[in-house]
Subunit: 153 residues, 2 copies
DNA sequence: ATTTATGCAAATCGTTTGCAAACCT
DNA sequence: AGGTTTGCAAACGATTTGCATAAAT
């Protein structure tokens, strides 16, 4: 099946990036990458160490640090000031955005579509002109209330 | 001049919201509100206590907490996991968005314009459908590099 | 007089770091 | 051997909280 191949290819790509700067693709790092690959949304460090109990917090943070530097992973700052991690877009080849719940901190993916991209590209262009910001691949986080939190009100 | 009137009206509105829940509009709280009113962008707590030295950190946090609960202020989570505060849109009557620098954490305002709003409203609609999120007045944070950080590269 | 706000210091929580041991190559 | 990663515990920085005092109504 293709997902099996994908994982192999993913590990291969990650290994390449690590070795290019003299870093090793250790078992713990592989576990983290694979876990992120299997998650439909960015995951917090708490969830990572819970799911991968033989990886202590400090190692998780350190690994995520080097992986993020090498652009293997990306860190999303949630509205709850926790870090959420996902594989970088150029590894998974899927452009997307995020919706952040301002009540519970949940982060979910918004898959890209041509209509959405068109709207956001235009928005990013205007915003960039006005602020002088470089909007790399127009990353955009929408802030609102997730369904659960909206229903609690 | 009109800004003088605006400030008076602002204080009046804030006082109203506070008193409606039995809270007092103390001098420290007035100072904070006035400082936020005078800033062109969301400000961090560090900046607040630096500019208003007779307000200790804990009081600043506590005041901002109640002001935010009453929707007098709003908290923006920066990419650096610090809290940045601004007056809420319904007090200042100016709809806007934010650009977050993913390198230095800086937060700047993006003034709204009809073209931008049109693009973002469309984006919010699509995203909302897909995620089930309620996108309150489509708040949207664009993440990229501010001019300073882009030049450092 | 009763409730609410303040100010200090201590606690908390996510995250980072120092250091010695374990691991690759 | 020589550099890298791990694991623990201690350090950190932003934010929160307990508690006794001060202020407002």
């Amino acid at each position: 099946m293709s997902s099996d191949l994908d994982i192999k290819r993913l590990h291969h790509d990650v290994a390449l990036r690590l070795s290019s700067v003299g870093q090793r693709y250790t078992d713990g790092r592989q576990q983290i990458v694979e876990f992120l690959a299997g998650s439909p949304r960015p995951v917090g460090v708490a969830a990572i160490v819970k799911e991968l109990p033989d990886i202590p917090q400090s190692s998780a943070y350190r690994s995520l640090g080097v992986l993020t530097q090498l652009n293997v992973t990306r860190r999303i700052a949630g509205t709850d000031d926790n870090g959420y991690y996902e594989l970088s877009e150029d590894l998974v080849g899927r452009h997307h955005h995020h919706a952040l719940c301002e009540s519970c901190g949940r982060v979910v993916d918004i898959d890209s579509s041509s209509k959405l991209e068109k709207a956001l590209t235009e928005a990013a262009r205007i915003a960039s002109e006005q602020t002088g910001f470089t909007l790399d691949a127009h990353r955009m986080d929408l802030v609102g209330l997730c369904r659960d939190c909206a229903n609690k009100t």
